[in-house]
């Protein structure tokens, strides 16, 4: 027997891609999918890259597939929103080398802005979908996905969830396939989707769907487990593992291929039972199909539709089934009440702190974005007004500013004064989807300010490089996007750079740019403190000068602690950034 090794679901997908002979992989980092590409990129003889965003990653993977090699695109659930444009037409043109999109949902929103259920993306695009329930299945189903992709001439969705991505379990790898390059062949009727061609392709997709449903009915990874009793539970993904523990010994129809749904298999197996249950995370995706077969399933009437499932809430969903299967709830969990919460916070020395503090002082309307800096929404910084998705800070800012300036019919001509709107986004987020927003601002004569927090990395997901760092995924030097030149070339004349550790500079530059009757970009440039790991002399508070006013606490630095009325600086935590010293009006905070 081959060696069995503990792997996260993400590692298993990466190793399966390697063993499937995948030569090309592209991704944009996003929790919980990030490590798929990181692990794959470390393997020999493959090409992997960080793309500026998920649309770019998927399109590059499509090109690689047409170029004849097996390719992989990996992204988190909301990443597929960005990549939705190629996603829906890609199945029309099909593949040459197999193409798999590893897509990770985040039930419970551990590190996301929503908990959309991406299974509907597979259904809507007529793309086959496989759902692993542990790392071994993540490995096996990735291997299957490549075979399926080439057999049916379609991309395949590998639908993961946080708990599959970030759980470790034992994996036994199977024999590796040798990478191949399928010779390039021109086929414009199949690959150029003008309406006339697309009309020829769509019926082929519909026929293919019927073939794939047969595959789904016969697929060896669809597992019918015959247990005791009159009830059967239909489940898929990690929910299967919870069902196994919540209802020991119950009959289970465990699905691994959930688009197309295996309607024949479901009808055939379930008609032997009087009660049909469906246990799935998020939306009633499978339940809708099961209900359409006239099986009257119990599903979301008991199973939560929001948040992540676990053994406890699955057991609680159907008390009669728990009773019938002799499932026991552990007796008296001692929940301790009234403990202080521990929300995530900006690190001591984080370069976002100074600029976000200065911004909050300007009383601006802050259109924020997705990254570590979003944490500045929490009091006492309270430096975000709105945030929806990556890049939206720039464009929402545009609409906000226009709305504030639109005249309401009265002709009275007021002098245009200080504008109130400031958009804030990180460097990686800017490259991801902020650049087109900046074009919108320049072209449509916005006159607000965009602050780009350039910390020289993609910090939140674990320090990935991007087009602004000058370093590739392999750690090799490459060209660096010059943000100042880029902004100027789009037509924004006022581009300033500030040091976020210099509060007075941040304040005066923000104030000048907000007064300006023109669009502007302020780049707040300093490397992430976790990445740099350079420490200066820690600061301390002089007891003689300090009058316990507490002003320094407003920067929300974890190195500053207030005990009673007295504030002290934790020397071990202080990185010597000096932001607190600049906030103090009595010069009570000094080095050493």
């Amino acid at each position: 027997m081959a060696e069995r090794k503990l792997m996260t679901g993400n590692e298993a997908v990466a190793m399966a891609a390697l063993d499937a002979g995948v030569l090309f992989a592209s991704a944009y980092p996003g929790t919980p999918s990030t490590e798929i590409l990181e692990v794959f990129s470390k393997q020999e003889g493959v090409y992997a890259e960080w793309a500026p965003n998920e649309k770019v990653a998927l399109e590059a993977a499509v090109g690689a597939s047409l170029g004849g090699v097996r390719s992989l695109a990996a992204m988190k659930h909301v990443g597929l929103n960005v990549a939705a444009d190629p996603w829906f037409t890609l199945p029309y043109i099909g593949v040459s080398g197999g193409l798999v999109v590893a897509n990770a949902d985040d039930p419970g929103m551990h590190s996301s802005q929503n908990e959309q259920d991406n299974r509907y993306y597979a259904k809507a695009a007529k793309v086959p979908m496989l759902e692993p329930s542990d790392s071994q299945e993540a490995y096996d189903l990735t291997r299957e996905a490549y075979r399926m992709s080439e057999r049916y001439d379609t991309p395949v969705m590998l639908r993961l969830t946080t708990r599959v991505c970030h759980s470790r379990s034992l994996v036994e790898r199977s024999a590796a396939e040798k990478p191949v390059r399928i010779p390039y062949r021109k086929d414009e009727v199949k690959r150029v989707m003008i309406p006339g061609h697309a009309r020829l392709r769509h019926p082929i997709m519909v026929e293919r769907l019927a073939e794939m449903e047969e595959h789904s009915n016969e697929f060896s990874f669809q597992r019918a487990e015959r247990g005791a009793g009159d009830a059967v539970v239909i489940t898929a993904g990690v929910a299967y593992q919870y069902v196994k523990e919540a209802f020991p010994g119950v009959s289970i129809l465990k699905l691994a291929m959930t688009n197309p749904m295996p309607r024949g298999l479901i009808s055939e197996f379930c008609e032997q039972f009087s009660d049909v249950y469906v246990v799935e995370e998020l939306e009633p995706y499978m339940e809708e199909t099961v209900a359409s077969l006239g099986l009257y399933p119990k599903g979301k009437s008991g199973v939560p539709r929001v948040g992540e499932l676990n053994v406890d809430n699955v057991r609680d969903a159907f008390p009669e089934l728990a009773k019938a299967t002799g499932s026991h709830t552990a007796s008296h969990p001692s929940h301790v009440e009234g403990l202080p919460a521990r929300p995530p916070i900006l690190c001591a020395g984080c370069p976002h702190r100074g600029i976000m503090y200065a911004l909050a002082r300007q009383k601006a309307i802050i259109a924020g974005d997705i990254g570590c800096y979003t944490l500045s929404v929490l009091p006492p910084l309270s430096a975000h007004d709105c945030q929806v998705c990556m890049g939206a800070s720039v464009t929402m800012g545009h609409g906000l500013e226009k709305a504030m300036e639109l005249e309401l019919g009265e002709s009275e001509e007021e002098e245009r004064g200080t504008h109130m709107v400031v958009s804030v986004l990180g460097d990686s987020t800017f490259f991801h989807s902020g650049v087109t927003g900046l074009m919108e601002m320049a072209y449509n004569r916005g006159r607000y300010t965009v602050v780009i927090l350039d910390n020289r990395t993609t910090a939140m997901t674990g320090f990935q490089d991007h087009p602004g760092t000058g370093i590739t995924l392999q750690g090799e030097p490459t060209v660096t996007v010059d943000i100042e030149m880029l902004a100027r070339s789009l037509g924004i004349e006022n581009v300033r750079v500030v040091d976020p550790y210099d509060l007075e500079q941040c304040r005066s530059v923000l104030s000048e740019e907000m007064d300006r009757d023109a669009p502007s970009v302020v780049i707040s440039r300093r490397a992430c403190v976790l990445r740099e790991r350079t420490r200066r002399e820690p600061y301390a508070i002089s007891r003689e000068e300090c009058n316990d006013c507490g002003l320094c606490m407003r920067i929300a630095c974890p190195a500053l602690v207030k005990r009673g009325e007295e504030v002290t600086i934790l020397a071990d935590a202080c990185t010597g950034c000096g932001v607190c010293a600049q906030v103090c009006r009595r010069e009570a905070i000094k080095v050493g």
């Binding site: 551990h110 708990r163 053994v311 929300p343 995530p344 916070i345 690190c347 929490l378």
Partner: protein, 204 residues
């Protein structure tokens, strides 16, 4: 580790919950434990937290082992051991413990933001409360012990050393896993920290 829960297959699954603060290294500690259990021949599943929650927030990792483990998440009240790298997080996660579960924790205090800000109180009696709820708890100054063994950053490995006596995994299996998974320059300190922790446990 006495309390045992039955999984669907009728096999026994045991669980350890590791609780701490983002950045304290619970993922590595869980991975060391998981690989030691694999080396001993168990089926193992773990669960960990990445992303936003790591920025100084509460984090938990879980390790489950047995003949055939189903859920990677530990059901409430079914953990055989809680390994706490911080007192408040230990207190917060006692609810995972089975009635016969064990607490092994570091006497480490990391103030969360509401406490730093003075808007909330850190439970000064956290240790006493843990002991009153779980009288057999083992609470030690893990970073100090680790520093004496070579490096304060090996604090979690002291806790693993204490836990190790309750597990059938052999010392050699543990040390091999430490050598394999810990960065080369930290192996010596972690090996010592593990052995000191194990000795502490033996002497109790």
């Amino acid at each position: 580790m006495s309390d045992q829960s039955e999984t669907g297959s009728g096999k026994v699954t045991r669980s350890v919950v590791l609780a701490g603060v983002g950045g304290q290294g619970t993922i590595l500690a869980a991975n060391l434990l998981a690989n030691a259990l694999v080396a001993h021949g168990y089926d193992v599943k773990t669960s960990e937290v990445h992303g936003m929650a790591q920025r100084g927030g509460s984090v938990i990792s879980m390790v489950r082992f047995g003949d055939a483990v189903a859920s990677p998440l530990v059901p409430m009240g079914e953990a055989d051991a809680l390994l706490g790298t911080e007192l408040l997080e230990t207190l917060r996660n006692l609810e995972f413990l089975a009635a016969e579960g064990k607490v092994i924790a570091s006497r480490t205090r990391v103030d969360p933001l509401p406490v730093l800000q003075g808007t909330s109180e850190y439970p000064a009696d956290a240790e006493e409360r843990i002991i009153s709820l779980w009288p057999d708890s083992i609470i030690v100054d893990a970073p100090t012990i680790a520093a004496e063994a070579g490096d304060a950053r090996a604090a979690n490995t002291v806790l693993l050393g204490i836990l190790s006596l309750a597990l059938p995994v052999g010392v050699d299996e543990w040390l091999a896993v430490i050598e394999k998974l810990v960065k080369a320059k930290a192996v010596e300190a972690n090996r010592n920290a593990f052995l000191v922790g194990r000795e502490l446990s033996e002497n109790r």
